[in-house]
């Protein structure tokens, strides 16, 4: 048996297809997508005193990030497979921030200079109750991160820190949030993240989402609308066993 791995070049995206339409070249996604836990106060409202008890002991001080790996990335219209052993999934709508150039230790005041544009991220999870050390089984399944429908260039998004995000399930509005509610606005989040890790051109950093995320069952379709960005629509289907 012969196995080969690529030794040069850089193509972390799933091969053979463009993931999303990118409306202003030369943007190109790197394939790295970072989610942010608890950037919306609703998580702490939901947890109440539990956020101060074990295993958490206290709310986090620094941004809490997680990774949506390349196998999770999907485009508009791609079906999201609900695993056979769960009745429904969580669908967490977030503004995705596309990075324009290497951002290391950026100051809040200059952070927006490192942003190329915005898109919609649907961060799908198997419902789980712990935020302590959740299994990646919940968040890293194939196709669990639809993106799109296109990158909208930063100059065309007037107020990304005051923008409404609406989630519809089969046309019914199930969640309404606004980026102005976030604990760390875009520039502050970029400052606090790039203090410890560099974000590179084409990386996507999610701004975060309200809790609890809406639930969706097989056979339903999720549409996420962000004013000025577009609509990201994905059907949820029962996974083949």
């Amino acid at each position: 048996m012969s196995v080969n791995i690529p030794m040069d070049g850089h193509s972390p995206m799933p091969p053979n297809r463009a993931l999303i339409a990118v409306d202003v070249p030369p943007y190109r996604l790197s394939g790295s997508v970072y989610g942010v836990l608890a950037n919306h106060p609703s998580l702490f409202a939901m947890l109440g005193d539990a956020a101060y008890r074990p295993p958490y002991n206290a709310p986090p001080r620094a941004p809490v990030l997680y990774i949506k790996p390349r196998n999770t990335l999907a485009g508009p219209g791609d079906p999201v497979a609900v695993p056979a052993d769960v009745p429904e999934l969580e669908t967490a709508a977030s503004l995705g921030i596309l990075i324009e150039r290497a951002a290391c230790r950026v100051e809040e005041a200059a952070a927006i200079d490192y942003v190329a544009g915005f898109l919609i991220v649907n961060d799908v999870s198997v419902p789980h109750t712990t935020y302590h050390r959740p299994s990646i089984r919940y968040k890293a399944r194939d196709g669990f991160c639809p993106l799109g429908p296109a990158v909208v260039a930063k100059p065309r998004v007037a107020s990304p820190d005051a923008i409404e995000i609406r989630t519809y399930v089969d046309g019914l509005l199930v969640q309404l949030q606004n980026t102005r509610e976030m604990i760390r606005p875009i520039a502050r989040l970029l400052q606090d993240v790039t203090e410890f890790m560099t974000l590179n051109a084409g990386d996507i950093l999610c701004l975060g989402t309200a809790a609890p995320a809406p639930r969706v069952r097989p056979g339903q379709t999720v549409s996420i609308e962000i004013d000025g960005i577009g609509t990201l629509r994905n059907p949820f289907v029962r996974a083949e066993s």
Binding site: D8, G9, P12, M197
Partner: protein, 256 residues
């Protein structure tokens, strides 16, 4: 076969060791140039996809950190910005109390794996390399542990020096690991003590996520992690894979 990716004289090259089994004796570029280890810039030895890392996958290390037995592997993901090659520098921020290395066997996927049984799992492995996966425990918070501020810092994950073909590693389940700090042996273990072995990990992961060529599994570290300080040279060795060296540096090197 051992292969490296190095930068030399304005280009990136594939390189092989001058003497099989000893990467430190020098290397030869694909174009015939023969060079000393210190003449090139060592990059991660393959194009790295998803970085999958195991926590507490050696019973002794789990005990060292006071963890109980697990029902399923404890896995977290890392991003590409944290990678470096052999002989890189890793920053220790001023004022932190506990920064430590983690010598690990890195398993490189060579063929797409989806719902793979344990008995066929190793067929999806292209090869192996050494990983040193640093952590700074001061930044540990109890949300999505271990959070990226602990484990995904710039330059905190070293891979190399060589990518070693699976065919040259007949028993990846019996490899001794050693870490030296300034020449002094500090960490020792053997992959036979993995709680979840390579076959199981590929089986487990591929049940819910498709593994693709270039994805890498850092299989965890045994006991013997100690605090390291600026100026320390940390060398991780694994039988048959070589010796991965790097240096801990302070903020001043990075203009902080």
């Amino acid at each position: 076969m051992k292969r490296a990716r190095v930068a030399y004289a304005g280009a990136i090259h594939e390189a092989t060791p001058l003497q099989p089994g000893d990467g430190t004796a020098g290397l030869e570029l694909e174009d015939g140039r023969r060079l000393a280890e210190s003449q090139v810039v060592w990059l991660p030895p393959f194009e790295v996809g998803t970085i999958i890392a195991l926590g507490l996958n050696y019973a002794d290390h789990a005990k060292e950190l006071a963890f109980a037995a697990q029902e399923e592997p404890l896995i977290f993901l890392k991003g590409p910005g944290t990678l470096q090659g052999h002989r890189g520098q890793t920053r220790r921020p001023q004022g932190v109390k506990f920064m430590h290395y983690e010598c690990e066997l890195a398993v490189v996927v060579g063929r797409e794996a989806r719902r793979v049984g344990r008995e066929r799992a190793l067929e999806h492995v292209a090869g192996y390399c050494i990983a040193n996966d640093y952590a700074i425990r001061d930044y540990l918070e109890n949300w999505y542990r271990p959070n990226l501020r602990v484990k995904n810092r710039d330059g905190a994950t070293l891979l190399g020096p060589w990518f070693v073909d699976a065919a040259d590693v007949p028993d990846p389940g019996n490899l001794a690991l050693r870490t030296y700090v300034n020449g002094e042996l500090k960490q020792q273990g053997n992959t036979r003590d993995l709680i979840f072995d390579i076959s199981y990990l590929i089986h487990y992961l591929s049940a819910f996520m498709t593994l693709s060529p270039g994805d890498v599994i850092l299989t965890g570290t045994p006991e013997g992690v100690v605090n390291v300080m600026p100026g320390d040279e940390v060398a991780c060795e694994i039988d048959g894979l070589g010796r991965l060296v790097n240096t801990v540096v302070d903020d001043a090197v990075f203009g902080r």
